[in-house]
Every structure is written in C-alpha cells, then in structure tokens.
Symmetry: C2
Subunit: 240 residues, 2 copies
C-alpha cells in the first residue's frame, strides 16, 4: 500500500477532539470522512509547501511539528508560527490561490490533506462545519494579533516567557506534561519567531536558569516555576 496516500477517517482518528472534526455529530463526521481521505508524510527538514506553490488544500497536522515562515526580498526571514498535532496549516494560500509562506517540518511528520474545494462544498451542506472552518481562521487571526502584541511591546524575557507558557499549554492540551517539554526548534528559530537573535534567546534561557525558574538541557526544558513565568508576562502590580 502506498504510504503517500493512506486511506484515513476522521471518525476513527484519535485527534478528532483537537482537530477539524470537533463538535460534529456522527452523520456529519461521516460526510467529512469522504473529504479527508489521504495523508502525506513530510520528512524532517523538508517543506510541506513553499512560497508560490499553488494552493489546493489545507493540512491538518497528524503527527510531527512544523514551522511556517515568510521571507523578505533581501533574505531575512521570519518564523510566523509553530504548528503541532491537530493544528491546521495552509490558510495563507486561500486569498491568492498560492501560498505566501513556507511550511517546514521540524521533525518527521504526517499531515491529513483537506482539499479546499471539497471543504467548501461540504461547508455549504452543513453549517456546523462551515462555522467551524470560520472559527479556525478566526483563531489564526487572533493568535497573530497576540504575536504582534508580543513583538511590538514586550522585552526579551517577556517574549520568551510567553513563548514557553504558550508551548506547554498547547502540549498539555494534547496530554503532555504541564511542566516539561522538548523544544522541536533551534534557538535561531525561536529567535526568529520572537524577533530576537539566537544569542539573546540563549542568554535569556540562561538567565531563567540562574533565577531558578526553569531547567534547561539542550532541547529539554523543565518549568519549575510557572507562576514566575506568568508574572514576567503579566506584571501584576503595574496596572494604570
């Protein structure tokens, strides 16, 4: 059987509570199964799609970890997000029928293809799915606004604290620890996402370690003082 086109079904997927099908009833789920039929493997370091690729479908991360990034004419690039299990990729491509960012797998990954024309067609048939698609796009917009806030008005420590808290929170929602995580990206990629240089990321990690807030061993991070990180992001007593 061709590994590139495994037959799959949302209805029997253990991610259905996280992914596209949340909130659908069995009959709706059944219809969705007809739309989502193929998976695709992406090797670590290779692209799910690149800037300029024709947009045909959204992708749901089945396993693995992705980054999306945009690039300037002069070669600087900016990581715009990290996507994990159950999250949806590719919405940037709808507006112009072509992708406007690269999506790179940070570890061997598998995605479910959601052909967009079929998704639209099914959305016209039942409003639950339609509204759900709208919510997913809206969530992305709200998330982006949060990143803009981070980039526009936080300092290095606050950015990294917010980043770590966001990561563990998402991992926790997937059944992982609230206090331990393995970073799937390099310091440079973290820095690109947070608008700082990799040296500053490294120094800030070291500072957190000195303060006893976290433990770090390479990609492994143990958050010893969640409240401490939260205080960094939202200083409680400077409210005016």
């Amino acid at each position: 059987m061709d590994i590139q086109s495994i037959k799959v079904a949302c209805s029997s997927c253990n991610l259905r509570e996280l992914c596209l099908p949340v909130g659908l009833n069995p009959s709706e789920m059944d219809k969705l199964d007809h739309v989502i039929s193929t998976r695709k493997r992406v090797k670590r370091g290779s692209a799910l799609f690149n800037v300029g690729d024709r947009f045909t479908s959204l992708y749901a991360v089945r396993s693995g970890f992705f980054k999306t990034c945009v690039t300037t004419a002069d070669g600087r690039d900016q990581v715009t997000g990290f996507q994990m299990t159950g999250e949806i990729l590719g919405m940037d491509g709808i507006v112009s029928d072509h992708h406007s960012c690269d999506a790179i797998a940070l570890e061997d990954a598998e995605v479910c293809l959601l052909p967009f024309d079929k998704l639209e067609q099914l959305s016209r048939e039942f409003s639950t799915l339609q509204h759900h698609v709208h919510k997913i796009m809206s969530r992305e917009i709200v998330r982006d606004h949060g990143v803009m806030l981070l980039l526009g008005s936080m300092r290095a420590e606050e950015r990294l604290a917010a980043f770590l808290l966001n990561l563990v929170q998402r991992l926790h929602a997937r059944g992982f620890s609230q206090s331990e995580l393995i970073l799937r990206m390099t310091r440079e990629e973290i820095g690109s996402y947070l608008g700082m240089k990799l040296e500053t990321v490294s120094r800030t990690f070291s500072k957190f370690v000195e303060e006893g807030t976290i433990e770090v061993k390479q990609r492994y991070v143990h958050i010893k003082d969640t409240a401490g990180l939260e205080r960094m992001v939202n200083p409680p007593q400077c409210r005016n």
Copy 2:
C-alpha cells in the same frame, strides 16, 4: 429617518469594487442586498466594538478610518491594524463569539453591518460569496504575517518606510494620490503599530525629511522619493 439604521444596498454602493461584493454577479448582489441593510455611524474616538463585546456581525468600513488594538493585563496596548474604506472589521470575534480587540474610529466614520449568521447562511447558498469570505479572512492572515515580519526583523527606518508605502498604496487603490496623504493617526498610534515609541517615530520622520525622501507637515505627508522608501524596505544588493 433614524440615522442609525439607514437602508442601504451593496448593489448601488460606489465601494462595491473594493468591498465585500467584488466579483458577484447581479443576482448574487441582489441577495447580498437583503443581508446588508443597516449602517451605523461611529464618532471619532469612540468604539465600534470593544474587547469582550458579543460578536454578531462583521463591519465594512463605508467611510472614515479605524484602528484595532489589543491590550495586555498591565495596560500596554498594541495597535494591530488600521482599516480604511472598503475594508472588513470584526473577524477576530468569530472564534469565541466575543471580540478580542477594540475597534476605534480615528475620524467620524460609517460602517455597514454584515450580520454574520446571515452571511454564513447566504454563503451556503452560493459559493462565490462563500469563497470571497474565505479570501477576506485569508487576506487578513497574510497581512498579519507581513506585520510580524516587520515587527520581528526590521529596524525603525524600514518599519516606517514600509508603513508609509503600504498606506499610500491602499489609498491609491481608492483613488487618492500616490504621493500625498493625511495621516489619520497620532505618532503614538503609528509607534504602537510599528513597535516603536512615539519619539522614535518622530525622529525617523525627521530623518526622512532631512534626506529629502518626504515632506512632513503635521499629519500631512508628501512622498517625494517612493523608490527611496522602497530601497529602505528591500535593500537590493544585500542578498544572501
């Protein structure tokens, strides 16, 4: 007649080439007219919606100028965008049924209400509108990614140059000059959007004036050297 609920029609609106109805045929436009029936005036300085307000509809800017901004717990806020004629506001509210940012009119404004349930209903009836709604949301996502790039990897001069170019380009698409504009926002609001302090914004304006790239008189800006600004954003010969 109540000024708060003017009967309106997309089909006879002079913004139909910029706004929601682009690409619809006459019969589709006719259906859209049944959904979009009311306008609302918003005075300069007051809010179209605030964080936490219940989300019921999108808004199309009919006239005037808005900013949207998010706020941290400790009172810092970040302008996430400026919206002008023909642009759509409110998509942040879909995901949680409540708005996650404030939308403030920077000058007396008028918006058309697009009740979202009716918009979804009509979207299910014809795919042109459905796809168009998706495109509008996707465009917002792509725009946000651009802002993230700007905030994450550009210096003050590049940010302001990119900002001015973006503004005139959008104004030009609305029939205004390619080289002259009136800023509707304060230096502080520009700074908040671009992730810099108002003093830095002012200094950077002054620098551009000294270099002869622009003329500035308060809110009035005349771009004398568009190519010069473009060179600032995309340095041509530093490619690797």
